[in-house]
């Protein structure tokens, strides 16, 4: 037996009759089990079949996240504390907004490296428009001092609706940067990587120059609500005290949750129900064939980059409101790679033509949970990224195994 198993010539049609061979989920062998044997499945086979089904499900990353959460909660009890869960959700919403935009671009077979810089510039300019008061000694080096900003804040700092205008300005700015990216890519046939790298460099620098690297403080109160304002809150515990302390209240439904989930629903709808979504997949699969079939490929590409910029602006609003400042260094860390990682874990292909909003939602949830666990482990900050990388690798390998089984089963 042992000899024949290693004989490459006979492996194709040989049937392995060893007990337990049926647990091997690798296709051909499983199919060759006779019906009689399948009826007498041992519990371990049943478990094997269950895992196989879970692995092949399109919600695989969700299951993985849940299992990950349950197992990790046993070791780190803080993980399942209500306070932690609401905090993690607040961390997740802005990340989700960026990731949705990136998913769209990845489906096209492109990449948007300028999302971080878009966040920086929109946060800064939005802040400069709506700030209610600015300190002369901090901001007098800014090229805008005396013209657009002054001691009474931004140009609309004293207007009660200034924050709403600022939000619109931020969103339009995001769309504009996306339009620039998309236009450069389609009109001049430049590589998306190059174009967005260039705009990333330019806009990040521009944001820093505007305030000479200072954060913009004193953002108006209504704007701050967009970052962590809650609409429905809950209190967990006995009703002993008529006054519940603010810190004991847990936000249940928050503005950022509504904004991000709203964006996700819109994106999902665009992708699955509209002709624009169908055209995105088709351009991402084969741009030439799509153009010949009458798909306005250039327009689709420009609109997708605009959407990506819009999503970055939404994330920028959520972050700025939560931090309470306009921050020219926003989005400058690893955030973009985390976002791309989350999208890919969620099933988006870097080669285009594949990806869903649902998958990205799960991917982002997985990522946030992962960061949370790594924090709870209180690892040395010097090793934390290595552990993160390792876990992402495992998730990616599982996904490849999954795709391979799916293709073979077809």
């Amino acid at each position: 037996m042992a000899r024949t198993r290693h004989d490459p010539v006979s492996t194709t049609i040989q049937r392995d009759e060893r007990p337990g061979a049926a647990e091997d989920p690798s296709g051909p062998l499983l199919k060759s089990i006779s019906p009689k044997r399948r009826d007498q499945r041992t519990p371990s086979q049943a478990v094997g079949a269950f895992f196989r089904r879970a692995l092949l499900s399109e919600n695989f990353i969700l299951y993985l996240t849940i299992i990950f959460f349950v197992v990790a909660s046993i070791f780190f009890t803080t993980l399942s504390a209500p306070r932690n869960i609401t905090n993690q959700l607040l961390n997740m919403w802005p990340l989700l907004a960026i990731a949705i935009g990136q998913t769209f671009v990845l489906i096209l077979g492109g990449i948007d490296l300028s999302q971080g810089a878009t966040m920086a510039i929109t946060s800064t300019i939005g802040g400069l428009v709506m700030s209610t008061a600015l300190d002369a000694s901090t901001y007098d080096k800014s090229p805008l001092w005396g013209t657009l900003i002054s001691e009474s804040g931004g140009i609309l700092g004293q207007d009660p609706n200034g924050w709403a205008v600022a939000v619109v300005v931020m969103l339009l700015l995001g769309l504009l940067i996306g339009w620039l990216n998309g236009t450069m890519i389609t009109r001049f046939n430049l590589a998306p990587f190059m174009v967005t790298l260039v705009s990333s460099t330019i806009f990040a620098a521009f944001a820093l120059w505007l305030t000479q690297s200072r954060n913009v403080a004193n953002l108006p109160e209504p704007f701050l609500l967009l970052g962590n304002g809650d609409i429905i809150s809950i209190f967990l515990g006995p009703k002993l005290n008529p006054d519940i302390a603010r810190r004991d209240v847990l936000p249940l439904i928050t503005y950022p949750a509504l904004i991000s989930l709203g964006l996700a629903v819109l994106a999902h709808f665009l992708l699955t129900r509209t002709s624009f979504g169908r055209q995105m997949y088709s351009v991402g699969t084969n741009r030439r064939a799509s153009t010949i079939s009458g798909v306005p490929s250039q327009r689709v590409i420009i609109m997708v980059y605009m959407f990506s910029g819009f999503c970055a602006a939404v994330a920028s609003i959520l972050y700025s409101a939560r931090l309470g400042i306009g921050q020219p260094s926003l989005g400058s860390g690893n955030i973009l790679l985390d976002v791309i990682g989350a999208a890919v874990i969620g099933g988006t292909s870097l080669f285009g033509g594949k990806g869903t909003v649902k998958g990205t939602l799960f991917g982002v949830a997985f990522f946030v949970l992962l960061l949370n666990i790594l924090n709870a482990m209180q690892l040395s900050p010097f090793i934390i990224d290595a552990v993160k990388g390792g876990i992402i690798l495992i998730a990616a390998l599982l996904d490849i195994t999954r795709t391979r089984i799916l293709n073979r089963g077809a």
Binding site: P8, V9, S10, T11, T12, I13, P28, R273, T274, S275, F276, R278, Q279, Y281, S282, T285, N286, R288, A289, S290, T291, I292, S293, G294, V295, P296, G353, A410
Partner: protein, 518 residues
């Protein structure tokens, strides 16, 4: 015949998506013979060859190669065993040189101690020998991307020879070759046979198979119908075995007569070095053939009509109105459809479901409200109807990707997607290339139906016979100009070919190809 057998395939079976593709097939290939393998698209030829090549693995059955059990797990195993593959789409790295492609699986190295370098000189010398064997006088360090399809084919053969293949499989090798290149390929195949190499030759061009093969195997619906010596076959018998019934005629009779209302009009279309002052009219209900050799400018002309390439002069009118704009989108709005010659790169989204391919062109018509929401039910229904009307053979059009279909069925998907947008002018560039007799007949019948319904069809082909069998009128293109036109009564293959080769006119000094192949 006492020649020994080199490859034996015994009772091999393989199913995809639960649909059997190859069922209990047994075939022998003898030493030093050419086996012709024929069958309609979807008959299982490609799957059978993929089994031999280790690309897919059999569900049952076994193979013996050179007297030893043979069960390739991956394509490299087939190469190592001595089986070479010349695919329809060539597997060459176009950004590399000939020599690099030949030696891609292992470069010869030279040097001393731990310092090893690629031995370029040895590579070149060996490649030179191999290229001589296939009759190619291009230098070994020539880049593949600068070579014609025919020359690339020869490089593939050289590569197979380098691997010391004793069995070479040719899958539709002539689809993108000119007549002269095809001739050269056949001569090399015959020479290889003299050297004792075995070959399997798959082709839809039955006359070629008859000319080359020593024995012929016919497949239908995944099964082997028969394998006999070449002398037992003629074209008629081959077709009836492939189709499973005897076919009375290769071309459907035209069921309608053309009108005199002009539908598509080209007036003085020019683009420097590509086409020159082309005037052309397709009437309603007319099936016009456009014949020309490769490089005559016919594909370029089609691309200009459809707005993919720019014209420098001239005017295009559809139903009397000048074509506005110059993009594919504008052309589609003016009710023009374009079936490209290149199915894989320009016709289909290979990785995407058949139904999504079918609805792509007509997408705007399924969009409702300002949000462009798609009517999924209507789309499903339309895709199903169109694939039924064209008798598309697929297990499930909503999940199966286009690439899983055979060539003929892929072409039907391309035609179906255009039909949904209800065009009036059909430009079909080599629509029957690489598809089998049965599917060809169906496509001719579709063209006739379109013409009968009042559309105009411009049918571009380099197979003169099919144009003569189906068209109302044939235009001949040569070196960017329309040089002659023939009404149906005046069809004569000799006259048309002569026009294509410009025998009536003095030849241009740079038209090397046409001079030699006439």
């Amino acid at each position: 015949m006492t020649r020994s057998t080199i490859l034996t395939i015994e009772h091999i079976s393989k199913a995809f998506f639960g649909v059997p593709a190859v069922r209990d097939v047994s075939i022998d290939v003898k030493e030093g013979e050419i086996l012709g393998l024929i069958g309609q698209n979807g008959a299982g030829k490609s799957t059978l060859m993929n089994l031999v090549g280790g690309v897919v693995h059999p569900d049952a059955g076994s193979m013996t190669f050179r007297g030893k059990p043979y069960a390739p797990r991956r394509p490299a195993d087939a190469n190592d065993a001595g089986i070479g593959f010349i695919h329809q789409e060539l597997n060459l790295f176009t950004n590399m040189t000939i020599a690099e492609n030949v030696f891609i699986s292992g470069f010869p190295r030279t040097g001393f101690g731990p310092f090893k370098f690629i031995d370029r000189a040895a590579m070149k010398a060996r490649t030179r020998e191999l290229l001589d064997q296939v009759g190619l006088d291009t230098p070994p360090d020539f880049q593949i991307e600068r070579m014609s399809p025919g020359e690339r084919q020869l490089v593939e053969i050289a590569k197979a020879l380098y691997m010391d293949a004793s069995l070479i499989i040719f899958d539709e090798p002539t689809t993108s070759l000119t007549a002269r290149e095809t001739e050269q390929l056949f001569n090399i195949m015959l020479r290889l046979r003299e050297q004792g190499k075995s070959m399997i030759y798959i082709s839809h061009i039955l006359n070629d198979v008859l000319r080359l093969a020593d024995s012929i195997a016919v497949m239908r619906d995944g099964q082997l119908v028969t394998q006999e010596a070449r002398d037992a076959f003629d074209t008629r018998r081959m077709i009836s075995l492939m189709v499973g019934r005897s076919i009375e005629q290769l071309y459907p009779t035209r069921t309608s007569a053309p009108t005199t209302t002009p539908l598509l009009e080209l007036k003085g279309i020019s683009a420097a070095g590509i086409v020159e002052k082309v005037n052309l009219t397709v009437h309603r209900g007319e099936l016009v053939g456009l014949f020309g050799l490769m490089g005559s400018g016919r594909t370029e002309l089609a691309r200009m009509i459809f707005g993919l390439d720019r014209t420098e002069q001239g005017e295009i009118r559809v139903a009397g109105e000048a074509l506005k704009g110059s993009s594919a989108r504008d052309s589609i709005r003016s009710k023009i459809a374009f079936v490209t010659e290149n199915r894989r790169e320009e016709g289909l989204l290979m990785n995407i479901a058949i139904a999504d391919n079918v609805t792509l062109v007509a997408l705007p018509e399924f969009a409702r409200t300002a949000l462009q929401i798609l009517d999924a039910g209507a789309m499903r229904e339309a895709a199903r109807e169109a694939s039924q009307a064209l008798q598309l053979k697929a297990a499930d059009i909503s999940v199966q990707p286009a690439k899983s279909l055979s060539g003929g069925n892929q072409q039907k998907v391309v035609i179906a997607k255009w039909l949904l947008s209800q065009p009036e002018v059909f430009i079909m560039d080599e629509p029957t290339r690489g598809i089998d007799v049965g599917a060809k007949y169906e496509i001719y019948a579709i063209m006739d139906r379109l013409a009968a319904a009042g559309s105009g069809v411009l049918f571009i082909s380099s197979e003169l016979e099919e144009l003569m069998g189906t068209c109302d009128r044939i235009l001949v293109m040569s070196q960017g100009e329309i040089v002659a036109q023939f009404a149906r009564e005046a069809f004569s293959d000799e006259a048309i070919l002569r026009a294509a080769f410009r025998e009536h006119a003095p030849l241009h000094p740079h038209s090397g190809e046409t001079e030699q192949s006439s």
